[in-house]
């Protein structure tokens, strides 16, 4: 709750202390409290709830124009200019409702202007920084409000989850087929075979394609979600100083949590073969073996999903703070070998999926081909490590 209160205090810092403004602040706090309490009641974690509340707060300049605070922007020049123009637009015809459209139009206009104005204002600042930061990175600067940044991180997390979901589906898609195959083997006789052939197509092959279809949809959805944040990563993000500090602390916490997730996923990889051997030991029955294999696949899928989610969480904060992600760090020392490797690695998971499906369909050895996933992860790390080592020499 304190975080929300101090966020609101910060937002209202440059506003005059009129009764109207005071009332607005109280009302907003009340709404945010209600939302926070409901999110907690729904079972959200505290920082998650705070993140959502803040990301849905909106744009303070919108309120400034409504309350008629003309000299609004001591902290953020870009917003100040925005509020100014919009307030002027509204002032043109205040009494009639029709004026609202004018204000709206001005508002929309300024919203478009804002990015431009912000860029030049901050651009000048960075130029003054000169020798320091700006010399290292010559990226265009993008001023990002706290709300935008929170929204970006929320979206990035969601996108990571969709990505992980897609990958999990790719790994697990063969399970119905495996179970059908095992059941077929335990049914004998010609007519039974005819029957089970249909069953296999219906309950094994069809779900396989459906699951892959859903997985592809997940990947696409995950990608399109992030489209509107295309500037993050290619432009330098400028955050409010106090917010940046807070974000640094949160990133540290995230890193600790990330370590835990990493340990769990390594643990899952280490354990993944146990169900398989266990099933083999307790029974000769095909169906038991297959169920063991399914468990193994689930372990692998969980490990891979955790890995993707962890990387995604860490990277989305890192990008905002201007830290270099793993990929960028490697990029700096890229030689010819590295560039070729990058090309391969960018399509790596698609290739792996293709290899897995191709191999499985040709050999029909679904009981073995899952090993592709277990090999794929260490191999990924190995390829990039080798590439870097060669380039450095």
């Amino acid at each position: 709750m304190d975080v929300i209160l101090s966020y609101l205090d910060n937002m209202f810092l440059s506003m005059p202390k009129t009764p109207e403004v005071q009332r607005a602040k109280e009302e907003l706090l009340s709404m945010m409290e209600d939302k926070y309490n409901e999110l907690i009641a729904e079972g959200k974690k505290e920082n998650e709830a705070i993140g959502i509340v803040i990301s849905e707060f909106g744009d303070i300049s919108e309120l400034m124009e409504e309350l008629g605070c003309k000299n609004a922007g001591s902290g953020n020049t870009a917003y100040g200019a925005g509020a100014q123009t919009a307030a002027d637009g509204a002032g043109a015809g205040e009494s009639a409702y029709g004026a609202e459209t004018a204000a709206d139009r001005a508002g929309a206009q300024t919203a478009a202007d804002r990015s431009g104005a912000g860029e030049s204002a901050y651009g000048a600042e960075t130029a003054a920084d000169g020798a320091g930061r700006a010399a290292v990175k010559e990226k265009p600067v993008h001023a990002m409000s706290r709300a935008e940044a929170e929204e970006y991180m929320e979206t990035a997390k969601k996108s990571g989850k969709w990505n992980a979901a897609g990958t999990v589906l790719c790994i697990l898609c063969a399970i119905p087929l495996l179970i059908c195959g095992a059941l077929e083997d335990s049914v004998n006789g010609y007519s039974a075979w005819m029957y089970s052939e249909t069953v296999i197509v219906l309950f094994g092959v069809a779900p396989l394609f459906v699951l892959i279809g859903i997985a592809i949809a997940c990947f696409i959805h995950s990608g399109t979600m992030m489209h509107r944040f295309g500037y993050v990563g290619s432009e330098q993000i400028q955050l409010d100083a106090s917010y940046e500090k807070e974000l640094c602390e949160r990133a540290d916490e995230e890193r600790k949590r990330g370590e835990k997730m990493r340990i769990i996923s390594v643990f899952l990889f280490a354990l993944c073969l146990i169900p398989l051997f266990f099933a083999d030991a307790i029974s000769d029955d095909d169906i038991v073996g297959v169920l063991g294999l399914c468990l193994t696949l689930i372990f692998v899928a969980a490990g891979v999903a955790l890995g993707i989610i962890r990387r995604n969480r860490r990277n989305c904060m890192g990008v905002l703070l201007g830290e270099e992600t793993d990929e960028e760090e490697n990029e700096k020392e890229r030689g010819p070998v590295g560039i070729v490797l990058d090309a391969i690695l960018s399509g790596y998971w698609y290739i792996i999926t293709a290899v897995y499906l191709g191999w499985s369909f040709i050999t029909r050895d679904w009981g073995f081909t899952w090993i592709v996933w277990v090999i794929a992860w260490p191999l990924y790390a190995a390829i990039s490590a080798v590439g870097n080592a060669i380039d450095r020499d």
């Binding site: 009302e27 945010m32 309120l63 919203a111």
Partner: protein, 106 residues
């Protein structure tokens, strides 16, 4: 999810609609908008409060303090006759906008 830029101009309609049958307060309205739109539209707090201020200033809604059972003091909003008239006007306007835009949709 729809951005608030697209919704500009129709936020008022949603708020007035929710006040047609009973008085309500800030978060309740925000929650209902999310629910009725099946989470496709979440009205930002600043947008909502700006709309309240504007509508009140222009006489379309009035506000009063009410107390919840848990003792929290809340500002409730009530729609006025002018507000109801505006709601109907906005509905008509939307139908027209919809017709016009629809003509350009493949």
């Amino acid at each position: 999810m729809i951005g608030s830029d697209v919704m500009r101009g129709y936020n008022d309609l949603m708020i007035l609609f929710l006040l047609l049958h009973e008085d309500s307060y800030g978060y309740e309205i925000s929650r209902q908008i999310r629910e009725i739109s099946h989470e496709k539209y979440v009205m930002k707090e600043t947008t909502l409060y700006s709309a309240f201020t504007r509508l009140e200033k222009l006489g379309y809604i009035t506000s009063y303090f009410g107390t919840e059972t848990n003792g929290k003091r809340r500002t409730y909003y009530r729609i006025t006759e002018e507000g109801r008239a505006l709601y109907r006007e906005k509905c008509g306007e939307w139908k027209l906008v919809k017709e016009v835009v629809d003509d350009f949709i493949e």
